[in-house]
């Protein structure tokens, strides 16, 4: 019995932190309509600031805590004003969602540069000795945590419900245009909500750091847990965030104790999947109703840039010749192998482009399909000694089945919820690859994967793998290029612009979305298999959720809806750290920063920019349509 209560207390404490992160989510969502995926990173930044003020500078705990929260809030103001607020004002909601994923990656990268990859623990505020209540032992830091979070909840409730400022925040959430007419500075309100959420995150981070040690990438854990909490409770509902957080914390603690700590996360994610199926609006539905079916929303849609006819052919042939010639040049071996990796990742990014760029369905779980493909092919060819080719094809079939199963959940979901369901899928696969030790080798990975082979021909050198990846991606680009020019491709784009209008024209929207997801999953699976065969090794973190974010960054950096663009994104993000070894430490921060900056300053991407430049170069004096076709949809 006492162990039951002990676990319950542990669950409540953990749940309190999740609730605080969920509150930050809800606050920003209510005011801006965007789920800020960088929310969890503020916990780590808060703990990091606290570490410097308290442990390194030896300042008193109270002073250090106040300064930490203030400095993270100041950082939040700067980042929010430079990136988040302009993005909310300019970009479609789904792009802003992806941009916040970029911010999360950026913050993790910053923490990695400043803090290194060691876990850090802070000293408890008032000694190590726990308080004994009867047979129970409660760490004093737990009381600090519970009290601090309760105080924050109360303060936030008072602010929102009892002050003119809170009324203005609610007005922005309800009707931003009318709020402007009332003389409310809506941008300032967005910034305020972002900053408040940052302060809430920092406070909960420095309160929890003495209990759980944190490291640079703990932000992702807090974001996903807080997000699961808010999805269970109801997006935008403060009460729902708190209840969701506590339910999740308790469920995870009990699962860890009675089932297995490796599966604690899996159960939470299954719970979330169930919630998304049963009641996508959460337990406490609240907040303004928003139209979620249009990726473009009311904002100006990003232009789709495409090279036409002869130019595309010229660019494609030139590119192919250059790539075919590359292995014959005297290059260091690691350059060739990272080119191979770029090409393999490019195949997965191609799938993502079909889904995100052309059909407008945001997927945050692409790496999940890579994992399915990689592990299925690797296990089939290692344990069951299938020929690698059969393994790859079977893995693709399994991935498509997974995609179909996921569509059963996502079929009813739109906009944010769809993006979040794919994120949940990715996280679920992450936790399974770690948890199913007998099958996947668990955290230490799967070793002894053979080389890819077709019949007796083995792709056992870097050069052969390079040509394999190049050949496959060239064929796929050609196939998709044709496919996107067909009636099917037009239907994808119609769904991207306006699902309602597409349905009115007789496009079977559900079927189109499922097909796009299946194509995307199959390509990710193929890439995952090749990845495993290339390294002869596969571990969970090689195909975990941060990889999904990285592939989105590759796609956006290269140019969405351009097919070829992803190659440039993959090359930049894979090749640069190889060429300049000293950059490797900065890779995570750079990936995040590039994603954010591309969205804000070059939404058409590298390849899109190149296409526009090329068409201007040759098309001076002629109309635009003769060069790059620039389509803008919506208003």
């Amino acid at each position: 019995m006492s162990s039951f209560i002990q676990i319950l207390i542990g669950g409540l404490l953990q749940g309190g932190v999740f609730a605080a992160v969920a509150l930050g989510f809800s606050l920003v969502y209510r005011v801006t309509g965007v789920i800020n995926l960088s929310q969890g990173a503020f916990c780590v930044l808060g703990a990091m600031a606290m570490y410097y003020f308290e442990v390194a500078f030896h300042w008193p705990t109270a002073l250090a805590a106040v300064l930490s929260v203030l400095s993270v809030a100041a950082f939040g103001v700067a980042v929010g004003a430079a990136t988040f607020v302009p993005a909310v004002a300019r970009l479609p909601v789904s792009s802003t969602l992806v941009l916040t994923a970029g911010l999360l990656t950026f913050f993790e990268g910053v923490a990695l540069i400043v803090w290194g990859n060691q876990p850090y623990a802070l000293p408890p505020f008032s000694g190590q000795a726990p308080v004994a209540v009867g047979p129970l032992r409660i760490p004093t830091q737990g009381l600090w945590l519970a009290g601090g979070i309760a105080a924050m909840i109360a303060a936030l409730w008072l602010l929102v419900n009892r002050t003119a400022l809170g009324r203005a925040l609610q007005a922005c959430a309800d009707n931003a245009m009318a709020a402007r007419l009332m003389g409310i500075d809506t941008r300032r309100m967005m910034l305020l909500s972002f900053t408040l959420a940052a302060a809430i995150g920092a406070t909960s981070g420095l309160l929890v750091a003495p209990i759980t040690s944190l490291q640079f990438d703990s932000g992702g854990f807090f974001t996903t847990s807080g997000f699961i909490a808010v999805a269970i409770g109801g997006m935008g509902s403060f009460a729902g965030s708190i209840v969701g957080g506590l339910v999740l914390g308790i469920a995870e603690q009990f699962a860890a104790y009675y089932v297995s700590s490796l599966f604690a996360n899996t159960l939470a994610l299954l719970l979330l999947m169930f919630m998304l199926l049963w009641r996508p609006q959460g337990l406490f539905a609240s907040g303004p109703v928003r139209r979620l079916d249009v990726r473009a929303d009311s904002l100006v849609h990003r232009a789709l840039v495409r090279l036409s006819g002869r130019r595309a052919l010229a660019v494609g042939v030139t590119l192919l010749i250059v790539l075919v010639a590359i292995p014959q040049l005297p290059l260091p071996n690691d350059v060739l192998s990272s080119l191979t990796i770029s090409l393999i990742l490019f195949i997965a990014v191609l799938g993502l482009d079909v889904l995100m760029g052309w059909t407008g369905q945001v997927s945050l779980g692409q790496a999940g399909f890579m994992a399915v493909g990689g592990y299925a092919a690797a296990i089939l060819s290692t344990t069951y000694e299938w020929p690698p080719l059969a393994g790859v094809l079977a893995a693709m079939a399994i991935s498509v089945v997974c995609a179909l199963a996921l569509s059963m959940v996502t079929g009813r979901l739109r906009g944010h919820y769809l993006a979040l369901a794919t994120l949940t899928f990715g996280l679920l696969i992450d936790s399974l690859t770690v948890g199913l030790v007998d099958l996947t080798g668990g955290p230490s990975g799967l070793v002894g994967i053979p080389s890819f082979a077709v019949g007796a021909f083995e792709f056992d050198t870097t050069e052969r793998m390079f040509y394999l990846a190049l050949g496959l991606s060239a064929v796929l680009v050609l196939l998709l290029e044709g496919g996107m020019r067909s009636q099917f491709g037009r239907a994808l784009q119609a769904v991207r612009s306006d699902q309602l209008a597409a349905a009115a024209l007789g496009v079977n929207v559900g079927w189109i979305k499922v097909s796009a997801l299946c194509i995307s999953a199959a390509l990710a699976s193929l890439a995952g298999s090749l990845y495993a065969f290339n390294f002869h090794f596969l571990s969970p973190e090689m195909v975990a959720t941060p990889r999904s974010f990285e592939m989105i960054a590759m796609l956006v950096l290269g140019g969405e809806g351009t097919l070829l663009g992803g190659l440039f994104g993959a090359l930049v993000l894979t090749l640069l750290p190889t060429l300049v070894q000293s950059l490797a430490l900065y890779k995570t921060a750079t990936t995040g920063a590039l994603l954010v900056a591309t969205f804000l300053f070059m939404p058409e991407g590298l390849f899109g920019r190149f296409a526009i430049w090329l068409s201007r170069l040759g098309g001076a004096g002629r109309t635009r349509s003769s060069g790059a076709a620039i389509e803008t949809t919506a208003q």
């Binding site: 003119a164 009318a178 009332m182 303004p288």
Partner: protein, 262 residues
């Protein structure tokens, strides 16, 4: 006095308004009539600071207000009651009204109460329901709330964009009657409407806007009498006295009676 001189405005590459001149004096109701897409909403957006103009000037009592933010416009006393009501559906009626006085943050509670009473005087139905969510109100009541909320900002110039939009015919007359009652407050009222007949009936002067240009202005009586306007905006026959068109007028009147249109 709200004065607009040589105003031009647009979105992206499209110029929507060209050289618009318009004045509204305190205590008068000025109607701005025009078809869908003529530029009425663009004009009120410029006046309320939602859209920066491309050229020309807007002054309130001699002070330039063009290019200012929406907040600055509200602070100086120009307030827009937007098209489609745009009340805060999830908030209470009381919160909606208080948000109307958001820029007057220095007011104490007693003054806010006075202001609420004062603003709701024309709309007594709102007061007893103050703590209900505004989404509970009918369309007509929400329009009244939107006007009351606009009055809460203590405006010198009040602009009403399509207040009759989407309302039942009986409510349309009610709304116009209430707007006519606002005349006694000494406000400069600009009424942008597609319902030309009723807005001309309650206004002192009127401007007719077509393709982003003011094509006619004068007293409402003159505009109402002008056959050009009658033909285009009032839906009456081509030539008065023409037997065929007289028949048409009678038919129209009958049809209106059946449909309940006044």
């Amino acid at each position: 006095m709200l004065e607009v001189r040589k105003l031009s405005a647009g979105y992206g590459n499209d110029i929507v308004l060209r050289d618009v001149d318009l004045t509204v004096a305190p205590g008068e109701i000025v109607a701005l009539i025009g078809a869908n897409g003529a530029g009425k909403s663009t004009l009120v957006k410029c006046l309320s600071g939602l859209l920066p103009p491309r050229g020309g000037t807007i002054t309130l009592d001699g002070e330039r207000i063009d290019g200012l933010s929406a907040r600055a416009c509200v602070l100086r006393g120009v307030c827009l009651v937007p098209e489609g009501r745009q009340t805060f559906g999830g908030l209470t009626i009381d919160a909606n009204l208080r948000l109307g006085a958001y820029v007057h943050s220095q007011l104490d509670e007693a003054s806010v109460q006075n202001l609420i009473d004062e603003s709701c005087r024309p709309f007594p139905a709102l007061l007893p329901r103050r703590d209900e969510p505004c989404a509970n109100l009918s369309g007509g009541q929400q329009q009244m709330l939107a006007v009351a909320r606009g009055l809460m900002s203590k405006p010198k110039a009040l602009m009403l964009d399509e207040p009759s939009l989407g309302l039942a015919p009986a409510l349309v007359s009610e709304i116009f009657r209430l707007i006519a009652d606002l005349r006694g407050r000494g406000l400069a009222i600009l009424l942008s409407e597609q319902n030309a007949r009723q807005s001309l009936a309650i206004s002192d002067r009127a401007y007719v806007i077509e393709n982003g240009r003011i094509v006619a202005c004068g007293t409402s009586k003159d505009i109402l009498a002008s056959s050009d306007v009658a033909e285009k905006y009032l839906g009456v026959g081509h030539k008065i006295g023409d037997p065929k068109s007289a028949k048409q007028t009678i038919m129209t009147a009958r049809l209106r009676k059946i449909m309940g249109v006044p």
